[in-house]
Subunit: 256 residues, 2 copies
């Protein structure tokens, strides 16, 4: 299963991605987590310390290795990583059954965009071979540019996170439309930061055409987790149970 | 005065940008508001209706006009818009003294990145001529890629919004470092969504090296404004007064 999480900035994408990655790992899956946001913080939502994160070589640096190993120009990602299990440890960090890869960040102000890095992730997603019991969870950058780049074009499901507000709904609608352009059929919505029935009804009324997988309630735990730099999953609160229900729905939808 | 607002997704960038634009206009300035986020919602934070927003031609389409008018290839933006007042009405919408321009969105999934649009905004910012009583407020896309592109390299002040959490602080630190690379000297921080002294102390302890311009408290008004698609400024709450104090601090800092 390859899933990507998207949505407006700050709605709870990384929180959901971290919960799903940890839940899949606890089910016994080998989980590849890909932080496709140059402003990367998927690692902390998985529970990886900043010190450990600093040791990872980002995917953007794999290109040179690919060329070296295959002797070929071009992205060479297919030869480098035919199987999830083959991704070199240098490029990933393991935590509680989740193997994290980083897209790579902006290293120098004025140094240019990160289009090449996105192209590498797109190729990796397209060519990676899966065995039963392997999953990929990809945390996308905020907003919609990744859809222009087609970074997530090969995923099985694109999940858009929305919060009770017009702006995240506007983003979600644009995402659904752009996802259709690149042929993504399985697009779903998760409601986040919901505090009461009024807010839930507002969301339901405004995303009535989308398949709502579930609700992540507004959680003091998540706020505390961010302040203390721990994974929401490790707080074992109601948000973990909510994510468990969402994962079950994803599996049901994809098995249909 | 040319200012740009940046930060992690969802921290309150667009809310602050909308408040500052409207406050500057109320002071009598001619304000040019630029939505430099392809996932654009600066307009609604200024108070412009979705119907009116839909009539604007984005900046990305100005390129052709520039070539046509000047008879030259290249971006031609200098010739097109030497003065703030000269920006054609077709490309802007006026609301309560604020003239809004849009960068342009991702029009087609898989259609590519928005690097050319960023290059146009960068050129516009660099060459536009100011008269006394004219201001630009630019709302950047979430995260850090715009700093790789140098979109805001010509602003007088770059303001990073942070909320009480490790992730937005991590983003802010990276922004400060990348901003230094492109020669931005006046970088400031605004604390957002602060609920109590504990959270404020957390932020102050973690951004102690940055100049804190002020605090936007956590506001039920802002949440409601987003649900009902109105500008936070038009609710006249404590958040407007907080933004007024922040604007005063910006003016003081830049006049030093």
């Amino acid at each position: 299963m390859k899933i990507a999480i998207t949505g407006k900035g700050g709605v709870g994408k990384t929180t959901l991605a971290g919960l799903l990655a940890r839940l899949l790992a606890d089910q016994g899956d080998t989980v590849l987590a890909i932080d496709a946001d140059p402003d990367a913080n998927f690692g902390s939502a998985i529970g990886i310390t900043p010190e450990a994160l600093a040791t990872i070589t980002p995917i953007s640096k794999m290109k040179k290795l690919a060329e070296k190993r295959t002797g070929a120009e071009g992205d060479g990602m297919y030869s480098l990583t035919p199987h999830v299990a083959d991704i070199p440890d240098k490029y990933a960090i393991n935590h509680e059954g989740v193997k994290l890869l980083l897209l790579g960040t902006v290293e120098q102000g004025g140094g240019g965009c990160i289009c090449p890095e996105h192209a590498l992730v797109r190729t990796l997603m397209k060519h990676i071979l899966f065995q039963k019991g392997e999953s990929v969870v990809m945390d996308m950058e905020a907003g919609i540019e990744h859809l222009g780049r087609g970074t997530a074009e090969s995923v099985d499901a694109l999940i858009t996170v929305v919060e009770p507000g017009s702006r995240s709904i506007q983003t979600a609608k644009q995402i659904q439309s752009l996802a259709a352009d690149i042929g993504l059929k399985n697009t779903f919505v998760v409601a986040s930061k919901v505090r009461n029935d009024e807010e839930l009804e507002f969301l339901q009324a405004n995303i009535s055409e989308a398949t709502l997988l579930g609700i992540l309630p507004m959680s003091e735990d998540v706020r505390k987790a961010d302040m203390h730099n721990v994974a929401p999953y490790d707080l074992h609160g109601e948000i973990v149970e909510a994510a468990r229900g969402i994962l079950q729905r994803i599996e049901e939808e994809l098995n249909q």
